[in-house]
Structure formats: C-alpha cells, structure tokens
C-alpha cells in the first residue's frame, strides 16, 4: 500500500509540538511503527544523553551499545526530513531500513528487556531533555526507522510518547510493550522476516481475543507486524487469508465505504497495551473486510470524538484497544478521529470536524460519522445511499444533453424530468404520425437498416424486387432518394436480407393474407409518393395521407 509511504510523508511535513504528535502518529496507520522503534527510539534519544551521561542503556549489554551505535549513524544518514514527533513518534520513513536493522535486531531482543529497565530509570530525567533534543535534531526519530521488526505500530508509539509526555512517570504501561520483543524473538526467524513474523502473528492473532494482555500483546505484535507489512506493501503476503481478504477488499472495493480511519485505529486507546495499537490496524483491516458485506456495520466503526467502540465484529482485540483510559488520550483520539477522517472520494471530508492534521492517505474509503452527527446505522446507511444516488446522477449527466454545467441534485432532477417528458412527447407524436402516414403499419425495414448502415437515406423501393415474398409494401420514399436506390442496393443487401429473413421466420405463421397487399401497394405507392413530394412537413402529410389512407381500403373493398 502506498499508505505507509504517504503517511510518512505527511508526518515528515508536519511540525508539531508534542501535543499534536498524536494526530500525526495516527496518520501512520500502518506505518512502520515498531515496538523496536519505540523502545529503541527512546533509547537512541537517550543515548546521546546517555552516552554523555554514562550510557545507561549500554550497560545491559555491549550489543545494545553496538546496536545503538549501529543505528545511530544509519539513523543520522537516513534522517533527512522526518519530523520530530517525540520519542514516541515513529518516523515511518523507510521500511527498508527496518529490514536492514532486522538482522541486528533479532539478536538483540534480549537487550531490549534491559532497555526497559534503563528506560525506566532514565526516563524521567531524560524525558524532558529528550523532548528538547528530540524536536530539534530529529535524530532520535530516525532510529525508529532502523528498528524494524518490532511490531509496534505507530499508534503504540504515539501512546508511548503520550505517556512520556503527559504522564511523565506512567511507565508501567510503557513497559508492557517492551515485553513484546520477547515474543518477537520467539517468532522472528531470520533476517527480513517481517512478513514471516507477521504471518505467524496473523495466524495467531487474528482471531478475537480476550482482553488478556499477553494475548493482546501477541495480537498487537501480530498487528504491528501487519502494520509493518502493510506499508511495505506486502499486503498480499500477509499470512492470514483474512488479511488478504481484507486487503483485497480494501484495495478493490471499499471505496464506497469509508473506513474508519487508521488514524482512528491509531487513536485507539491510550492503553499502554500496545496490542491495542496493533489491534487497531487489524480492526481497521477487518473493518474493510466486513465493510464490504454490509455497509451498516460502518456505524459501529465510527468513532466520534468520544471514541466510540469499534465494531464487535472486529473482535475482542479491538475492544481491548478501545477502552480509553486516559482523558487526554481520549481527547487526542477524538481530535485524531476528527482529524484523521479518512479520505472519501465523494469529498465529504471537508465537512468533517476539526482537522488538525491531514487525514491519512489510505486506500480505503471510510464512512465516518461527522462531528456532531448521529452515528447510528440509519444516518450512515443514508449517507451511503446518497452517494449511490449521486453516482447515478453522474451517469445521467452523459445521457441528458446539456447537463454538463449543472450541479446539484434539484436542478439535475429538473433536467431529467424535462428530458424524459420531451422524449415521451416525441414518441407519442411520432407514433401518431406513423399511424397516419402508415395506414397499414408496415414499415420499411430496409430503409431503416440502410439508415443505420449508410449515412444516406437510401430508401428501398428496390426491395420490392428484392424479396417479393416479403410484404414490404410501399416504401415511403423521398423522390430524391430514388436515384440512390440502385446504388444503395448492394450495401443494404446483406443487412436487409438478414432482417427480412428473421422477420419472415417470425411472420410465416401470421402472414396468411399478406400477399394481397403487394398488389395494392403499387397503387398506394404512387399516391403516397405524391403526398410526400408535396410536403415534407410534419403537419401536411398526415392531413393529406389521411385522405389517401381512406381511399385504399375503399379500393380494396371494391376490388375484393
């Protein structure tokens, strides 16, 4: 998906203060927000200080320091324009870098645990310093990129950052995610194994899970791995068929439905359970999948500013993620929810609530409850319905002439009504005309076909000689066309033959006395031709031909 890339760019383009990082982070959606990023991110941010202070982190293992060091230069290299989103931020710039770091990462999973502790220790003192440092150099954020395989997603990182920023010491929650590296280590099989891990996780974690933290963690890991994969555009490679289905759904079809923002998923709970963060992605993905079947589910996915719960159908992980614990986080979530209203083709985004940040550029269309609007199924279904209607109006634009400039439903409807009425009147008029002109209601099929095939109106008095069986009685020729008959014959031949044959086949049962008229047709031909020659006008022929039309029957009677 391009999403990840876009998200990254969005992030990069934003200048935030720590307060706003949340919206941005939410935009990551599936950004490469890794646990590793958060954990290591903190570490690197600290590291410059730590190194200066004495390398708290490195104490755990020399590998860690090497890790940091290895990351450091790389991060600095890569870090060009990512913004400083706080240490929680995931600069989701380069996923490839994650793969680079992956190999390193694997071995160091153990070290992360130690990092946790070091973080704990050094968190508070460094947090403030970090903040100051973070925003300026943007260096620490870069580290995130290189810390690949950890399935922390951006949402989680946000939360982590949030915790650090807002709740200074609320570290227990923070620590939880760090335990995930352990699980990561279990799963990770080798370099560049993001997908593999994801698949493993996906297989494990897709199903709804109880609120067990470990489970959630696993799920989160799975989700996070998913997140990683998504930006890497490995959607197809995601292990679970569900994921694939979802992806396909999202990629193909859920344009109609607005997906709840991945930002929304990012908004998901504050919980330190970064599994929630991971879960968000899954729910969001699930949303897509379940979106397709029934648009009404969308209501459940909508999040108001209050952070309504995600649809139960998505599964427990979502629920666990949903429980907002922090008011500030809820607020941020709300902001992000509003802000990260996802793109809608119909352009209803503009109507949505406050947008502090750009909406995540995801591939799905999310139906979002607008700020202050009801989130029940009716209004959402109504919106879907309205979209369908407007879609069809666009088709009508092409059909109804002169509607290019018209916008708006009422005027468009007006035009349509006028057009339909005029067409109906035309049909009525023409049928009346035919009825009068054509007393015996025989049609010049060849003439009509000729008109379709040849631009010139070559009528077919010649058809008389063509197929005498067919009661094509009197061609209502224009005199000017007679000269063209001979020329037009060969061209018409095939099509008119076919038509005649088909009509013949239909009429064999009915024809019966049709041969009689052929005798009379010659008589009528002359009269009609005269009439037609007299006036091509619409009004004239009916009058004259009425009189003529009355004659032949009389003649017929006489003759018969």
């Amino acid at each position: 998906m391009d999403m990840g890339g876009k998200d990254k760019f969005e992030l990069e383009n934003r200048n935030e203060d720590p307060m706003n990082y949340a919206p941005r982070a939410s935009d990551f959606g599936f950004g490469v927000a890794n646990l590793a990023n958060t954990s290591i991110g903190m570490m690197p941010t600290e590291n410059p200080m730590a190194v200066s202070k004495g390398d708290l982190i490195g104490s755990s293992s020399c590998s860690s320091t090497s890790l940091v060091q290895s990351f450091g230069p790389t991060l600095w290299e890569h870090r060009t324009n990512s913004e400083n989103l706080g240490f929680g931020e995931v600069s989701v710039q380069k996923i490839q870098s994650t793969s680079d770091a992956f190999g390193i990462r694997k071995g160091d999973s153990v070290s992360f645990r130690t990092f946790d502790k070091t973080f704990d220790m050094s968190w508070n003192p460094t947090s403030s310093t970090l903040k100051g440092d973070i925003f300026s150099p943007n260096a620490p954020v870069m580290l995130h990129q290189r810390l690949p395989p950890f399935p922390a997603d951006s949402a989680f990182i946000e939360r982590a950052a949030r915790f650090s920023c807002f709740n200074g010491g609320n570290f227990n929650d923070m620590v939880n995610p760090f335990t995930i590296p352990e699980s990561m280590s279990l799963y990770s099989g080798g370099g560049g194994m993001i997908q593999g891990t994801q698949e493993a996780f996906a297989g494990n974690s897709l199903k709804p899970v109880s609120g067990a933290h470990s489970q959630e963690n696993e799920l989160g890991v799975g989700e996070a791995s998913k997140d990683v994969s998504l930006p890497v555009e490995h959607g197809a490679t995601e292990g679970s068929p569900l994921k694939n289905e979802r992806n396909s759904h999202s990629l193909m079809g859920s344009r109609d439905e607005a997906k709840q923002g991945i930002g929304g998923s990012g908004n998901d709970s504050d919980e330190a359970e970064f599994s929630g963060a991971g879960d968000q992605d899954e729910p969001s993905l699930l949303e897509d999948a379940s979106w397709e079947p029934c648009g009404l589910d969308s209501k459940k996915r909508k999040r108001n500013g209050q952070g309504t719960k995600i649809d139960i159908a998505k599964g427990a992980p979502q629920k666990s993620g949903e429980s907002a614990k922090d008011n500030t986080e809820i607020q941020q979530k709300g902001n992000r929810n509003q802000a990260s209203t996802t793109n809608r083709n119909s352009g209803k985004q503009g109507k949505q609530g406050s947008q502090t940040s750009d909406p995540p550029k995801e591939e799905y269309i999310h139906v979002r409850a607008r700020r202050g609007q009801a989130t029940n199924s009716h209004s959402l279904a109504e919106r879907v319905r309205r979209e369908k209607i407007s879609e069809r109006m666009k088709f009508l634009h092409d059909l109804v002439p002169g509607c290019s400039k018209v916008t708006g439903k009422a005027v468009m409807l007006d035009e349509i009504i006028n057009y339909v009425q005029s067409l109906q009147r035309q049909v009525e008029f023409l049928s009346m005309k035919l009825a009068t002109v054509n007393p015996r209601l025989d049609l010049n099929v060849e003439g009509l076909l000729a008109k379709d095939t040849l631009p010139s109106r070559v009528a077919t008095s010649s058809t008389m000689g063509f197929s005498p069986n067919i009661p094509m009685v009197y061609p209502l020729l224009r005199p000017s066309q007679r000269g063209l008959n001979q020329a037009g014959l060969p061209g018409m031949g095939s099509s008119s033959d076919l038509l005649q044959r088909t009509i013949n086949s239909h009429l064999t049962t009915v024809i019966g006395g049709f041969k009689d008229p052929t005798q009379l047709s010659n008589v009528w031909d002359d009269e009609l031709h005269n009439v037609i020659q007299m006036s091509y006008g619409i009004c004239a022929p009916p009058n004259s031909q009425e009189a003529d039309g009355s004659l032949p029957p009389g003649k017929m009677k006489v003759e018969l």
């Binding site: 409807l413 035309q426 054509n438 049609l443 379709d452 024809i511």
Partner: protein, 183 residues
C-alpha cells in the same frame, strides 16, 4: 451505456414483428387504433427486449396486460414468449406491499410539513435553504416517479437506475420512429 445501434436494431426488429402481428389481427383500423397499436407495440417491443430485467419494462408489460382489452393484443404482440414474461411480471409483488409504505409515508409527510411550517420563522437561513432544497428534490423525485413506468414503488437509487435505462430506451424509440417516418 450499451451500444445504441445494437439496441436500435433489436428494438426495430421486435417492433416490426409486433406491428405485423397486430395488423394481422385487425386490418382496418382507424387512426386512433393505429396510434394505440403503434405505441403499444413499441412499448412492448422494448420491454420484451429487456426481458424483464428492468423494473420499468416489467411495469410496462404489467400495465399492458392488465386491461382485458389490451391483453389479447399484448399477448399477441409479445408472442410465444409472452407467457414467460407475463408470469415473471405477475410474480412481482412489489406493488401491493409498497402501497402501504407510500401511504404511511404520506401521512408522515403531512404531519411533518405542518410542523415545519411552524418552525420556519424561527429557523436560521441555512437550515431554511436546506429545507427548501430538500422539498424541491422531493417534489421532483415524485414527478419523475410518475413519469417512469413503475417508478412509484421504487426507492431513489433504483429510481435513478431505472430512469437511466428508460431514457436510453426512449431515445432509441424516438430515433427508430423518426427514421421510419422519414424513410
């Protein structure tokens, strides 16, 4: 949407066949009868061309076969396949069940409109404009529903689709008839 010339050919074929069938029944028709026959045959031709896939075609056929006078004629026109079509049309139960909906909707509308009138003075302009626009749209939708055959019982989305189809059909009909009269 679809290829118009193909539709034209199809329509023309069916129409001519239908006309022939009609005229075989009754040779000396006066002009009004002929008019009716022409229209009927054209309608049925097109409706049968759709094979009952669209709602308006079904409604057309249903209307045509409803009167006993027309029925024989219509069945003649439609030919042997008419039985299948008529069955398909008759199995459409939409009319009766929708009538209740329409009735209840009308009652609701009336009650709402009276409430809206009271509120109008106190309501800000934007809301008023919205209300007016909505009403316009509602009225026009209602008119459109009356125009499209069988449209009264549809919801808006299907109405739009049917209108699209119906417009295409009308165009073809007009073209064919015009070329008939001028040839």
């Amino acid at each position: 949407m679809r290829n118009p010339s193909l539709i034209k050919e199809e329509f023309l074929k069916r129409w001519i066949i239908a006309l022939r069938r009609c005229t075989s029944l009754k040779k000396n028709m006066n002009i009004l009868e002929r008019n009716k026959v022409v229209k009927l045959s054209a309608d049925l031709a097109m409706a049968s061309a759709r094979n009952g896939t669209t709602s308006w075609s079904r409604a057309l056929i249903a209307n045509a076969t409803r009167d006993n006078d027309n029925r024989i004629l219509a069945e003649q026109i439609l030919g042997p396949e008419s039985e299948i079509l008529v069955k398909r049309v008759s199995t459409m139960p939409f009319k009766t069940c929708n009538r209740r909906k329409i009735r209840s909707k009308r009652i609701l509308k009336r009650s709402c409109s009276s409430a809206i009138r009271r509120v109008r003075k106190t309501v800000p302009r934007k809301v008023l404009a919205n209300c007016i626009a909505k009403r316009l749209i509602q009225k026009r939708t209602h008119i459109l529903k009356s125009l499209v055959p069988g449209g009264e019982f549809m919801d808006e989305t299907t109405l739009m689709e049917e209108t699209l189809d119906y417009i295409a059909y009308l165009r073809v009909q007009v073209d064919v008839m015009r070329s008939c009269t001028y040839c």
